[in-house]
Symmetry: C2
Amino acid sequence: MSLLVTGSIGIDTVHTPFGKRVDLVGGSAVYFSCAAAFFTPVRLVGAVGEDCPPNLLNVFEGRPIDASGVEVRKGSKTFRWHGSYVKNLNEAETVHVHLNVLGEHAAPIPTQFLDSKHVFLANSHPRLQRETLQKLQSPMLVVADTMNLWIENEEDELLKLLPLVHGLILNDAEVRMLTQEPNLVLAARKAQKLGPKFVIVKKGEHGCLMVTESEVFVLPAYPLEKVVDPTGAGDSFAGGMIGYLSTQDNLSPLTLKRALAFGTVVASFTISDFSLDGLKSASRPLIDARCEEFRKSMTF
Amino acid sequence: MSLLVTGSIGIDTVHTPFGKRVDLVGGSAVYFSCAAAFFTPVRLVGAVGEDCPPNLLNVFEGRPIDASGVEVRKGSKTFRWHGSYVKNLNEAETVHVHLNVLGEHAAPIPTQFLDSKHVFLANSHPRLQRETLQKLQSPMLVVADTMNLWIENEEDELLKLLPLVHGLILNDAEVRMLTQEPNLVLAARKAQKLGPKFVIVKKGEHGCLMVTESEVFVLPAYPLEKVVDPTGAGDSFAGGMIGYLSTQDNLSPLTLKRALAFGTVVASFTISDFSLDGLKSASRPLIDARCEEFRKSMTF
């Protein structure tokens, strides 16, 4: 098993109805790694600036995460994001964002990571995602995330990437934008025809939808009584899902559905507290137990 | 089995991205009856004005619906609603509404309906709902719908009704308004403590949530590729659900979940075409088959 993730590592300031926290560790690759590490060892590739406090990355300690692909770039600053969920707990309002090191070039992939079999390309410029992919020797499962910025401004690059990936993860507004189709099932079907074997549409508090060539799956979100900080929900979902998939030897409908359920449950731990504190309170047995409870609650 | 429904019977004009239709049969009691009649005989109580074209009610023909409780009131006009889904297929914009006969007094319940064991009180003034209930001899299962208007203006009457019903059905905005709680699970729990044994929160295209004293169930909506006209989705959901429940001798978690699934599937037929045309294309075997497909798609 060798699951590689490339994506952002950042310093977040987050404001939710439950309070404000500054200088938290965040970023897509960080949430993904910590979520996937409940299932399989993870290889993390990303860049921070030399301003990054070393203890920020302590979060990887004691987890099967190989952070040797984290570049500390001299002369650069770490990605910073300040978001607020005060008005709407389901949608972040970006107060400000400083791309810093993310606006430069991609972090190099360590030689010892080039044989990775499972890959998650967290949201990034689709050209960079494709370049990363082309460096890998023989990946078996590649899943990419994307966002409205690239759909709007880099559609050609995105359309070149999609036939190269097995899975695409994006949210409801993004898949509608990509396909110009308001119906989500049809939109996901159209996106699937652009290349990937499966397309997963994240609907936040409303769960997710997956379309393969022949099937449609829907899952509600795990019903949580207290959502403290939704930051990282999508990347934790991807981490739980692909972490589980990388321990399996097939992409059968049942395997994919189980992966969706694991992603859903792992994300429910993330949003129960600020930053990575929700995931810190989780464990594989707790995840398995919540998954079983979730399964039972939907069995009819 | 004897399932009584009291609610509106109306003439609708509906505008959706798929076209405009005028003078359609509609109303909560009509959708409910036609949905529930796939499962059990239905007794319908409601009023129309003398302007109501007799063929409007032909929709009940050939179905086990006893429409002898439909009062044709002299000197009154039928309820009319004109709604548009052109801007947003998930939320009706009311172009105009004429309460007409609905703004007068409730239709009388025929004597031969007073022994009804199962009752759906479609959305109406909570005092009228309570008065209806008090006329019945020994109902075993009573479910009520309500709306923002009564939560805002008739809260005292609504709070008197809730301890008298077994189930309450309302939408996400309404349960949040009733309980002043933004988290849906907590809101449903709070509503359940106001009296009913179970509270069902309808989330439209995002499915539903049910809370009982000890459990929380969530179900996504059935993933449909073409939603033509969402009018009547909520009442069809209630019809499928309570129609099924009234054939069962218990309210166990499994029975309630199956009822939610039947409601979800019946509503998916309703919204696939204008007015009652979607339900006309359904049958019990088609409903059972879609329910089984839905069940399988969520089994992991």
